[in-house]
């Protein structure tokens, strides 16, 4: 037993020495290697680090807050000269930006504006669409992007809860089906960057995500003091990602029942988008972005029938970029420029978009 105890203690000592050595090496290491080890920093640790060092690469503290996005959209809308023709109102994320930018590259006359968030889940996009209603005109094309990988975010208030490696703290409401066939909106306590910096609101929001956010995991938030150790950061990254994946899988597995019936929620969103845009004389276009891999929400399967029933124009990326075809995706998971070109062509060929271009 003494021999075993000796080897255990010696191994622990060696592990501590190795950890200190790695921490020292990382101070001089290339940024990419430092980032690799920093991905495992706790969520509070990352947020504090961004606050303390605003110039840090990858700082997402101020991005995509909804009030800022709405304000920006309002200003852009008010700056549009009289007689401005139809505009593409883009509500989505990087995928919709890339497609629209490709389309505007192919047809420079096309005008677009939008409210977009990095890794934005559909509830963010939907809230942006609802709250920005006053800043659209008849004839506009409303592009609404749904990214399959982010569908579990419907059960969350903020990317800081479930986007562990890049926990952008911007917030959004959670929508749940009500008995009247609509959606009930629950807003986060922290709605703006100003709120985020308010200690009282921040504390209240912390309590809100712990109790009401289905994707909240202790592994991502607990014991930020361990962030000093690269070894602990590596372990946290593995455990936090694993725990969040498990929660996302649990959401994805129940499209029509359970605490977050995501397909039902999306269907109701689509019906409401259809109703509002038609009332306002606009044309909705839904972009269903199927992420790479086979483990994300099957968008076309669940939403295709509703889109066809309502006669809504849509782009389903899986028809051009099957999720199992590695050639269609860049290493970071985005679609290749070639795929975006095909999607942009499909978009431009839609009659409402063609009309907007003229």
């Amino acid at each position: 037993m003494l021999r075993q105890l000796k080897i255990v203690l010696a191994t622990l000592a060696a592990l501590v020495v190795l950890d200190i050595a790695v921490a020292l090496v990382l101070t001089k290491a290339p940024a990419s290697l430092r980032s690799f080890f920093d991905y495992g920093r706790s969520t509070p640790g990352k947020l504090t680090q961004w606050q303390d060092q605003p110039g840090l690469n990858g700082n997402l503290l101020k991005v995509a807050w909804l009030p800022d996005g709405l304000d920006h959209a309002r200003k852009a809308f008010e700056a549009e000269p009289p007689g401005t023709g139809p505009v593409i109102r883009n509500y989505g994320m990087s995928f919709t930006i890339q497609m629209v930018e490709t389309a505007t590259g192919m047809l420079p006359g096309l005008r677009s504006s939008g409210i977009l968030g990095p890794g934005a889940p559909p509830n963010y996009v939907y809230a942006a669409f609802l709250d920005d209603r006053a800043h659209r005109r008849p004839g506009d094309v409303v592009l609404f992007g749904i990214l399959s990988k982010n569908v579990p975010g419907l059960a969350s208030f903020s990317n800081q809860v479930w986007a562990f490696e890049q926990p952008a703290p911007f917030t959004y409401p959670i929508f749940r089906p009500d008995t009247a066939g609509g959606l009930t909106r629950t807003d986060p306590v922290v709605a703006s960057f100003g709120d985020f910096r308010d200690p009282a609101k921040s504390a209240a929001f912390d309590a809100q995500i712990r109790t009401q956010d289905m994707l909240w995991t202790p592994e991502a938030f607990a014991l930020p003091a361990l962030d000093a150790s690269p070894f602990a950061r590596l372990l946290r990254r593995a455990f936090a990602n694993d725990a969040i994946d498990a929660r996302e899988t649990a959401v994805t597995a129940h499209p029509l029942d359970g605490p977050m019936p995501w397909a039902e929620v999306l269907i109701r969103m689509i019906r409401e988008i259809d109703r509002i845009t038609r009332e306002d004389g606009q044309t909705p276009v839904i972009m269903l972005i199927q992420s790479q891999g086979t483990d994300t929400a099957p968008l076309m399967k669940m939403l295709g029938p509703t889109l066809k029933e309502l006669g809504i124009a849509y782009i389903a990326t899986e028809e051009t970029a099957p999720p199992t075809d590695a050639r269609a995706f860049l290493p970071d998971g985005h679609l290749t420029p070639a795929v975006n070109k095909i999607l942009a062509r499909q978009f431009l060929d839609m009659p409402a978009v063609a009309a907007a271009a003229h």
Partner: protein, 481 residues
Amino acid sequence: MFFTQLSFWGFFLPVLGLAVVLPRLFGPYSRSLMLLAASWLSYAFWDWRFLGLLIVSTAVVWAIALRIEDAEGAARKRWLWLSLVFSIGLLGVFKYLNFFVDSFIGLMAAIGMPVTDDWAVRLILPLGISFYTFQTVGYTIDVYRRTLPAERSFANVALFASFFPTLASGPIQRAGDLLAQIRAPRPILWDDIGRGAVLCLLGLIKKIVIADALAPQVAAIYGADPSVVGGADVIYATWLFAIQIYCDFSGYTDIARGVARMLGFDLKYNFLQPYFATSPQEFWRRWHISLSTWLRDYLYIPLGGSRGGSAAIDRNLMITMLLGGLWHGAAWNFVAWGGFQGAVQVIQRRLGLKGRKPGQPVAGGIVGKLRHIVTVALFFQVTCYGWLLFRATSFDQIAAFTAHIFTAPLRTAGLISAPPVPALCGILFLLLWDLCAETADDQRFYMRWPLAVRACLWAAMIYLLAFGATTATSVFIYAKF
């Protein structure tokens, strides 16, 4: 509940605690009973409906083995056949019924007489059925051959069949090894815990850091349209798959052996640096040893083995390897893989090439060593072609990929991407580990090193595991066999 999931370790640690404490309080047999309960519980955790099947099949095998022991002459043989028909029949129904139904439907469609499969019974494959069936079949044959006495205690046979570290993916245990240890349990020593922990650590590195990290690269190419990929893509993906499947399966085996060791059981080696083989015969002395020796003892030798004429030996080899391929899964590509393995062994035999034995020194000085390295590298390509057959999802893919390899070996469709850095570190570590084991001809080569060096090694391995541990949720490849 797989070894890479925290839930397994949450289950295992209390079991280990009980395994240490119970024998001191209630005698050594209490540990066996507790382990049986734990094994059944873990199986029920996977799917409780199949626990009944496991218990019933074990009970039948146990009862018939007792009959075999008491019977003589023709009656003895009848009981053996009854046991074999029962065990292999169950395996056939659960593992191969869907396969034969699909093949029949495909055949009928091909000859212009399509049939619907509304009537077909679709069955789920019970976890570990191939492994526990082979164990119980081996036990029954051993009793028939009188190499072992029939076990009187049902609990002992049940633990032998369902011992949780080996239940899902082996290694396939012989009654002479494991049942003997169950009958005469020994106390768990601190040394067992230490050795077991090292095996578990090594296995987790192989599985999590290497195999799981390579899986997406392999899947990207094997999941792509075969008409688009280039020969270089196929070669690259197949090399990676060779590493992936080795790390996946030998990683599982290491953990199974480590867990068993901590519980006081010694399981034999299942892998001996297989990619250092220089011939098909040597490969099967190094790869999945528990299966290859099972097939040798219970299939190849009863078929006639190496006795008889050359054609008879070739036939025996082919039958053995074809059935060995089919054992892996109910799909024609596994049959093709088995056929390929049989064919290369037949070719080796026909060419009169003698296989090395693992650990046999390389003679001939530097020239001999260089020749040896070249032979290892060349034979690795042969092994990899076998893995292509194994990994492929259709014969069309096999045909297209084979054509790409030979007609456009340098062409790529841009599907090649480098494995993650932790996986590369893991592969380098494993290469060094296997080299040390091979050159020392000792799987525990590190025990010759001073304590301080070993402590540094374990610390580095723990760090490497943390470095590569991302989201280890994928299941073991061999769990579906």
